[in-house]
Amino acid sequence: MALLNRILYDAIYHTTPILLCVIGGLFAYKAGVLNIALEGMMLAGSFVAVLVAVNSQSVWLAYLSAIAVSLILGLVFSYMSVNRKGNVIIIGLAINMIVPAVAGFVLQSMGVPNLTAKWINPVIFRVHLPVVERIPVLGSLLSGHPIGTYISFLVIFLAYVLLYKTKFGIYTRVVGESPETAKSLGIKSNYYATLAILIGSLLCAVAGVNLAYERLGIFTNNMTAGRGFIAIAAIYCGKGEPLKSSLYAFIFGLARALAVNLSIYAGNVAALFDIIPYFVMIAILAVNAGYSNRNLRMRTYW
């Protein structure tokens, strides 16, 4: 029972950064832009948050500067891809490679293997929900997570309203699904695509902050460990719909929680459990792709 509880608590905990990336990234997905720079933007959020925290000792300055830097990356990405019509894969790759390179350089020149904001006690970010906390099993599951976790679940709902109930959301979907229609009605495609990408940057920054700063107060290079790509997989599996994609994000979070918790019992083969999230990802994508074409007997010649 205690183990199960732990696994579920961890599942929520591990879902948070992925979920934030998913919700952020699905706007660009809906606007028809493949944003593979989620990973880089998240890592930038982690790095800048801890770096600023170490140097300024200010909680909020850390938060804000992480967001600012990620937004700048988002602007670079959208300018290059949307305005200049560059290849999104190349631009995204560039961002994903530049961020760890810069972080690595800074770490090296500071002569440290990783950054630690020693004055931070992650406990200060924990939110204790007043009433919920008292509920027997559920209370310990739902209460005591970092702020980012609550933001991430709130954001699912906000994304839904934004996408389906507002002009912004409708236009964003039109731009992605039927760009010619957008053009014929005078909807400014570039404007909506850019905004969609920037929402992604914003939430990726929050994800990065959650990952490094809120949880541990530590930054190690490449600590995002492919979560941005897992988020892309979740977005694709859920076809960019907030609820569905979030569900996939949770499946990945759960897989990660299983890997971490079961490895306690597994001794040397512990490392194998870490494969679970990736295995789940490949399986879901493969099944999804196979499933949507299961009826069609179209020939393809390679």
Binding site: V174, L185, G186, N295, R297
Partner: protein
């Protein structure tokens, strides 16, 4: 000299609502519209005709603000206007329904109608007021007598219904001038009739309509005035009552054309079964039968026509027969030999010629040269290559032979296929397939998007091939084409061949009803399936 105004005698009182003066549009060095003078009178239906590529769509896109003229002027109610986007045109009362629909498939009918002009909520301004949107759309459909479910998704609608949504979209914006770019090319004959009635209705309600088409019969039926465009120039401006179909065709092409091919139905004796299809089936993406137990037989010296509204399984049927898709059941026999699910390479070798529906997707490679395309499908055979090396001289000679024999108009012999107009690209495919000396020809939409001159030529080729004893499977959504070329006609509806008719005795009405899924029933009149 604006020939438009000149052709109307003075004293006839007609308000000019829209006109252009020397309107010109260049794409790079290519002049798509060359000094166009157009005059549209208020409350009338103005038809614009011209062959494919004549520049009709380009002209309309300028009137609708989607393209900006290189030079020239547009006048609306006597006032010079400049549109920087469709939004400007719509505000001034000009709306356009494009040749390719501009609808968002995953959104509902009413969402599409109000798209771009959403109504903000009363209290929360950033949320949209769906109730009010629906209410306004409801009253709009009632006013114009359109029968549509506002909550249905566009992807669930038939093409005819989608078109209504497009028109409602413009009426919602309360435009006075409605531009329709080739609106009838995707409709069944019945839908076309209904559509044309709606146009007359709209005109009665005071709208001015600009109708683009290359279907002369429709134009003759509803329009008040006709402007003919050829190679980007206005070459004629006539009142409908003062002209005729042959006269218009002659203006469009610049010479006399035969609108229907001369076709003698010759009964060939001792006919041989060339293609026998039995209970053929395959699924679509959703697992529904796209081709549903289709059976038919084609003999040598015979054209079997399959007609139907697009999307009723004809595409899939042809894909199976040409080896691009697999059948899940049934058999295909060619000349006594089973060829079910053979690869297209094997089919070609056994003597089947294929003119595919998607000219540039499956028929030609636009980025390759004429010669390379001319030998596609035969690259490894003897005269063209030996020991895996091409014989350039042979290939060039062969390509030149095709160009001469099939009157393909080219600009540069060494250039790519992308230089060819639609008609000439299609002729290249016909030439290649015919020269392979097939015994069975599968032709799918062979004249879609092809100019009248080339249509005449391709039809002649098909009839000559049949007269030489070839068997032809002709799939087309052009009723005229099917009627004038076929010896027998099968009508496809929802994946099935729901009726076979004889072109010599059938009527357009009968076929039209079958295309809409109505089977004539001897006892009860018509029954819908």
């Amino acid at each position: 000299m604006p020939s438009g105004t000149a052709s109307f005698p003075p004293g006839v009182d007609m308000e000019t609502i829209l006109s252009t003066k020397a309107l010109t549009k260049k794409f790079g060095g290519f002049t798509a519209n060359d000094q166009i003078f157009l005059t549209v009178h208020e409350g009338q239906i103005k038809a614009i005709v011209g062959e494919n590529g004549a520049g009709k769509t380009t002209l309309m896109n300028m009137l609708y603000g989607e393209l900006q003229p290189t030079s020239g002027e547009i006048f609306l109610r006597g006032e010079k206007v400049e549109f920087s986007s469709p939004r400007d045109a719509i505000t001034k009362g000009i709306g356009m329904v494009h040749q390719h629909f501009m609808l968002v498939p995953s959104m509902t009918v009413y969402e599409n109608i109000v798209l771009g002009a959403e109504i903000p909520g009363e209290h929360l301004k950033f949320l949209i007021d769906r109730k009010e949107e629906k209410r306004r759309c409801q009253s709009l459909t009632e006013k114009y007598g359109y029968d549509l479910d506002l909550n249905e998704k566009i992807s669930e609608l038939s093409i005819g219904e989608q078109q209504k949504v497009e028109i409602l979209k413009m009426l919602y914006r309360d435009v006075d001038i409605l531009i329709l770019d080739e609106p009838t090319s995707v409709l069944t004959p019945q839908e076309v009739d209904e559509f044309l009635k709606q146009l007359v209705d709209l005109k009665a309600k005071g709208k001015t309509i600009i109708l683009i088409s290359h279907k002369l019969r429709e134009i003759m039926g509803v329009s008040d005035e006709i402007t003919v465009i050829k190679r980007g120039k206005t070459i004629g401006n006539v009142k409908t009552e003062e002209t005729s179909e042959p006269a218009l065709a002659q203006m469009m092409v610049g010479r006399k054309v035969l609108l229907t091919v001369q076709n003698q139905y010759k009964p060939t004796d001792n006919k041989r079964v060339m293609l026998q299809v039995k209970n053929l089936q395959t699924n679509d993406r959703l697992g529904k039968l796209a081709v549903d137990h289709v059976s038919f037989t084609i003999h040598s010296g015979e054209v079997f026509g399959i007609v139907g509204v697009d999307g009723n399984g004809q595409t899939e049927l042809v894909k199976i027969l040409s080896g691009m898709m697999e059948a899940t059941g049934g058999t295909v026999e060619y000349n006594g030999q089973e060829i079910t699910n053979c690869l297209s390479d094997q089919l070609r070798k056994s003597g089947i010629g294929i003119i595919p529906e998607d000219r540039y997707g499956e028929g030609l490679c636009q980025e390759m040269s004429l010669c390379q395309n001319a030998i596609a499908g035969a690259v490894t055979s003897k005269p063209f290559s030996r020991h895996a090396v091409f014989n350039r001289k042979q290939i060039n000679e062969y390509c030149q032979h095709l160009i001469d024999a099939y009157q393909i108009h080219i600009a540069d012999f060494n250039g790519n296929v992308s230089q060819l107009s639609g008609g000439n690209a299609q002729k290249l495919i016909v030439a290649r397939e015919m020269e392979g000396e097939p015994r069975l020809l599968i032709a799918c939409q062979p004249t879609r998007g092809v100019d009248i001159g080339a249509i005449e030529f391709i039809h002649r080729q098909i009839i000559d091939f049949r007269d030489r004893g070839g068997a032809v499977l002709l799939v087309s959504s052009e009723l005229n084409e099917i009627l004038s070329l076929s010896d027998r006609i099968g009508v496809m509806y929802k994946g099935k061949i729901i009726g076979e008719v004889d072109p010599r005795t059938t009527t357009e009405t009968e076929i039209g009803l079958l295309m809409a899924g109505m089977v004539p029933d001897l006892e009860n009149g018509i029954r819908s399936i």
